[in-house]
Homo-oligomer: 230 residues x 2
Amino acid sequence: MKNVIGILGGMGPAATADMFQKFIQLTPAKKDQDHIPLLISSIPDIPDRSASILSNGENPKPFMEKYVKGLQVAGATCIIIACNTAHYWFSDLKKRTNIEMLSMIDAVVDAVLNTRMQRIGLLATDATLATNLYKNKLEEHGLTFIRPTIQGQKKVMESIYSLKGGNLKLATELMLAQRDELIKQGAELIILGCTEVPIVLADELKNNPNLYIDSTQVLVQAAIDWYNTH
Amino acid sequence: MKNVIGILGGMGPAATADMFQKFIQLTPAKKDQDHIPLLISSIPDIPDRSASILSNGENPKPFMEKYVKGLQVAGATCIIIACNTAHYWFSDLKKRTNIEMLSMIDAVVDAVLNTRMQRIGLLATDATLATNLYKNKLEEHGLTFIRPTIQGQKKVMESIYSLKGGNLKLATELMLAQRDELIKQGAELIILGCTEVPIVLADELKNNPNLYIDSTQVLVQAAIDWYNTH
């Protein structure tokens, strides 16, 4: 059987499109046929992940399950999710499918460990913070986890929702200020742990690639590696 | 039933990603859930369309049929194809599916007619030229069809395959020269009638939007209009 990577996206669509672009950029291809086969679900009616975790909003899991199933029946043989917060449901989703699923959180933690940096900052959603998706795994490896202050985190969320609402300029200003705060707290490396953040900081990522771990990029690289070895 | 637009892409992946981006840009959205639901097939092993038409290469139709079926079983209710040349098989594919399919060629011709311009240039693949996908429909409406010279068309193809091979700079230089030639021949409006060309001329499209019909953009708009009325 031919392998096809399925992207569960739509959370949000811009982050999914960024992931698609990164597959193209990271694949050395001389012609169409050299690219990684992808099936992409960008059906954005999946209820807000943060609202579900933090304020008892509608549960996105049944939607995600349905769209994973859709990708599978269409031919996907390995699923990745283009949203960090959604990884709160990763193990549950993985249990309910019989095809491969690669975790963005694991890919990011592996990338962090490869840098040998010790003090790790995180720009992510409230829900990714509240569920300790990154904190626990980083601390297990003896690393110091650094997060924005309570006030600063409000600005991170304002930035993320500004991007989702189409205001990139405001989103970037807000996020860069919080990036600076993490560095003041001693962060040597910053995880862009929400798939909207690499879009918000796209120019900055080009200028200072070694300061960041882009969660979208490392998951794409993990998926390309999987594809090339299966 | 919820409507979902299915994109048959991968011809090539960069053009498919450009189409995805244009859905996001053309949708006024304040949050994820406002975006158009999309399923995207970017499985690029579809044999080269031009080679099949012009030099008896492997037939891409069975591949396209299979991937349209995949999109349908995953939930797509309306299919669009992110490749002009592939529209050579559009009627055949449409006959074999029971869901809606919107034609890029029709969307472009409608957009051309709306401009009331008379002398229409075309930047497209050899195979789109050879099959008269645009020429016949434009002439039916009494418009003058202008194509590159035989030598110029070789440069257009070199440009398209340069982009597919990752060389945007060379692709843009080659394509701009042929754009100039079409204008010298009297073209008042130029159809970017290969989905790689709006990528090749992305900066130029921003500077002179009224000189061009972007086949990707007009099909995306037609699909958004369909979604909003069904």
